[in-house]
Amino acid sequence: MPSLKDLKNRIGSVKNTRKITKAMQMVAAAKLRRAQDAAEAARPYADRMAAVMAGLTANAAGSASAPRLLAGTGADRKHLLVVMTSERGLAGGFNSTIVKLARQHADRLRGEGKEVAIMTVGKKGREQLKREYGSLFVNHVDMSEVKRVGYDNARAIADDVLDRFEAGDFDVATIFYNRFESVISQVPTARQIIPAEMPEGEAAGGASALYDYEPGEEAILADLLPRSVATQIFAALLENAASEQGARMTAMDNATRNAGEMIDRLTTEYNRSRQAAITKELIEIISGAEAL
């Protein structure tokens, strides 16, 4: 049975914890708004890019001269996994769900006898993957200095990925990130970026026939494919940033509520033992008086 003093201290410390988690929740809520706005603002560019790409790829896919970024290297041996996580923890299952998905992916590929290389973005994923897959790491992108994800960050990652592709380091690249569904739901997602995935049929065919291309379709495609890789990475980074804040907000909301429940429980216990002590003293006084 803890003493009254212990209980009081305990209640004080849980109250402090609750203050901190509450503050973190509010900070995450504010950051989430900004992250969502950023993701929203980036959408027009990504949408247009996707629409134009859809038209172009539908035409080029059939031809033998299709660029390698679109058609692939013809092999499927070496895989690059780009795992995007956050720099900070305390975001519930945010990081572990991505890592789990990446791990499943890596194990499956290795089971099939393929080579796997891993590139990590964000510290947390690196820490979680290090022990098991440390030897497969090819690069790490440190985002701890980045306050706000910009297109330049995405471009830097894309350039690195593209360089490796040109050098023949891998045949297929997949990015792992959390898709932002809502504040309470983030879906870990794997998306293949190289070779470019074919868009679904319907939209593709019609759009391309309508347009003239200057310079030729192939030249435009060669110009656009690397940009499209960067755009997809940028979109993933933004979604990830929003998801991270959403996950943190939910986690901190839970923590705040749990702390509140704990305080209630401890307060009840404190009051009970205080009353027990008073009752005990009264009994002692009364039985002392009776003995006289």
């Binding site: 247009r48 910009g150 297109y151 995405a154 040109e166 309508l210």
Partner: protein, 149 residues
């Protein structure tokens, strides 16, 4: 036919401009062109240069872009640029940034000339030259960037 069309200038991070316009003059890779309402649907890649937009009231606005592409249709022009700045915001500092990027790119591809092929090197050299021309055009000095030519 309507005498204006919708013009959007979009960067990866946000939509910069969205206004009705009478015409848009664009620096295409294969030469400059002007898009007016009723233009045939076209997709054009851009070189670094100035985009001139003539608004519905005849006022002209200029934007500096560093490449990208344009989707032209009969009633709209969508410009997707990696970087776009209104001319008044084109300061030496912004321009130095762009120059540095173009120079680094040229150095990078020249370093691996054998693996990427001559076309890519030519493209990078041309990009740099276009970038210099853009600076001279708006009255900025191309030689102040910290990355040496």
């Amino acid at each position: 036919m309507a005498d204006t069309m919708q013009f959007d200038l979009v960067s990866p991070e946000r939509r910069l401009v969205s206004v009705p316009v009478r015409e848009v003059r664009l620096p295409g890779t294969d030469g400059d062109l002007t898009a007016m309402p009723g233009h045939a649907p076209t997709i054009v890649t851009l070189r670094p240069g100035l985009v001139t937009v003539v608004g519905a009231d005849g006022s002209q606005t200029e934007f500096a872009v560093t490449g990208g592409f344009v989707e032209i249709s009969a009633d709209s022009v969508s410009l997707l640029a990696e970087r776009g700045h209104p001319r008044e915001e084109m300061t030496q500092a912004v321009y130095n940034d762009m120059m540095a990027e173009a120079r680094r790119r040229r150095q990078a591809v020249e370093g691996k000339r054998d693996s990427v092929g001559e076309d890519v090197v030519t493209a990078a050299v041309k990009l740099l030259a276009d970038m210099e021309a853009l600076g001279t055009h708006v009255g900025l000095d191309p030689n102040q960037s910290t990355v040496p030519a």
